[in-house]
């Protein structure tokens, strides 16, 4: 840990930003769209009215801001870590979105939906434990990514214990 504190720190920091800002953005968008109601997309006047309502919604703008924060964190992480490492870590956001939907919007999340969210997270982890070799584009020179390799080693070591 003490050998690479900046890498660990910045990776986990940005992942935390992703896992909080992404779901928060989605929940705020959901709040805004719920206030607007069913969108009318036809005739054109209806579409313009819907678009106007969306643009006038504070929740939507806050949601967009939150998603932009998520997106910047996501791009930064992807610039030094592999997609196959970022993917499972960000799967926690499925749990966070259900939690925020329940806490902020008072959505009734049934036990079966919680179970579904948990199984989805588990599935994403299993997907990500498979080697990235099948997805890595061979045309690009392999970028230096010490972080995912290290984590894999740690996970393997943890398995052995």
């Amino acid at each position: 840990m003490s050998q690479h504190p900046p890498i660990h720190l910045k990776t986990y920091l940005m992942l935390a930003v992703m896992i909080l800002a992404g779901p928060l953005g989605n929940v705020l968008l959901g709040k805004g769209m719920k206030n607007i109601g069913a969108p009318v997309i036809w005739p054109v006047a209806g579409l313009l009215h819907t678009a106007g309502m969306i643009l006038a919604s504070g929740s939507i703008w806050l949601g967009v801001l939150s998603l932009i924060t998520f997106f910047v964190a996501y791009m930064l992480v992807l610039s030094w870590a592999d997609y196959s490492f970022v993917q499972p870590a960000s799967s926690l956001s499925y749990g966070v979105v259900a939690l925020l939907g329940f806490l902020m919007l008072g959505e009734r999340v049934s036990p079966m939906r919680w179970a579904g969210v948990a199984v989805i997270c588990l599935g994403v982890f299993v997907v990500a434990r498979t080697g990235p070799s099948t997805t890595r584009p061979s045309a690009q020179p392999a970028p230096q990514v010490p972080e995912p390799l290290q984590v894999t080693e740690q996970m393997q070591a943890a398995e052995r214990v």
Partner: protein
């Protein structure tokens, strides 16, 4: 049918967008530090990569489909369903890119599909 189109757009355009952006960032390079100027410079560099524009365009489509879905359903239902992108990704990899998908990855995809099914069943 309307729901199917909305969720298909979120899943397909969202996954495609992520893959394009991921590829663009590999071309653009790594952020040397958290300094705002360095980050801005990296973002500008990323905007010069064509993959980035393709990715952002697809993400925009997925975004408006997401808004449509959120106006109809709860966010705690819509977002888990978008996890179907893992299923779409595996099938897309096999059919379009002729990738070999390992049994373990199929197991993970199966779990994601099972989780989404549970979310659907718990919709009421």
């Amino acid at each position: 049918m309307r729901d199917f189109i909305l969720f298909a757009l979120i899943v397909v355009a969202g996954t495609g967008g992520e893959l394009f952006v991921s590829r663009a960032m590999k071309v653009a390079g790594e952020a040397p530090s958290f300094h705002p100027i360095e980050i801005a410079r990296l973002m500008l560099r990323a905007l010069r990569v064509p993959w980035m524009w393709a990715g952002v365009g697809m993400m925009a489509v997925a975004f408006f489909a997401l808004l449509g879905a959120l106006s109809l359903y709860n966010v705690s239902f819509v977002v888990p369903v978008t996890a179907l992108s893992y299923v779409a990704g595996a099938f897309g990899g096999v059919t379009f890119l002729h990738e070999r998908v390992s049994p373990q990855r199929w197991l993970g995809v199966l779990l994601v599909a099972a989780g989404v099914t549970l979310v659907f069943l718990g919709k009421s």
